[in-house]
Symmetry: C2
Subunit: 121 residues, 2 copies
DNA sequence: ATACTGTGTATACGACATATACACAGTTAG
DNA sequence: CTAACTGTGTATATGTCGTATACACAGTAT
């Protein structure tokens, strides 16, 4: 598991962590049932507070990406491939829908948007 | 000019206002040279603080969407059509690029993303 | 001169993000 | 059984941010 944080970013640290782990789970980099490193060791490695890691992990657990066992640690949830795909979809949609609203307001056509994305992706 | 704010949204009020006005400018709803209502009247109409409006206007001015004349008011900047198009593009890109980063991390293919957008737009 | 405009400053409050510290409960390995 | 690990909960603190009200000043227009 590979994590990086930027202190310059607008995005709070815990959200950055959430995103990285969620995407590693959804992309298959982190495997179902896999044990995540302890919040203490991640905090130490990244040089940040345990509380911040805890918050990221809580978000992950809230959205069922992981489950935790007190005294043991935090595990990647086991999803069926179909469930995984749905989850991926809903994470994207969650982020996308506000953006699409904005683009529509701007008067951006679907074709314009698609072509922009083709260029940038 | 039509503005609405949601107190429930995660997005700060000043940002909501910025987006609405920027998009109204970029979509042609607000015309070049047009005078915006005074920060005091908008604040009164929306039932919020002048400082909040001021912040939104400052953001708009920072990004050259408007210019202000002390004692007079705030005016929509005059853009050449080409410049307007570029500005629209860069507003979209600014928002899009972090999102695309996330989608890539998720292992979402371009085709998957495009098809999702086609469904939702 | 009056009523409007934007600008600047001050103060205040609540929410949020993040920090350190400590104690407790649970688990695991030696 | 003990020590070292794990997560959980609580406390306190600080800085930043968003937003509020209030006031004064400078500029503009009628």
């Amino acid at each position: 598991m590979h994590l990086v944080i930027s202190l310059k970013s607008n995005q709070p640290i815990y959200e950055q962590l959430f995103e990285q782990i969620a995407s590693q789970i959804l992309s298959g980099e982190l495997h179902p049932g896999e044990l995540l490193p302890s919040i203490r060791s991640v905090a130490k490695d990244l040089g940040i507070s345990i509380i911040t890691i805890k918050k990221a992990w809580e978000l992950l657990e809230e959205k069922r990406f992981i489950f935790t066992k007190q005294g043991v640690g935090c595990f990647v949830t086991k999803f069926e491939p179909k469930k995984l795909k749905n989850k991926k979809r809903s994470e994207v949609l969650e982020r996308l829908s506000n953006d699409l609203k904005f683009y529509k307001q701007l008067g951006l056509s679907l074709e314009e948007l698609l072509s922009l994305i083709r260029e940038e992706y």
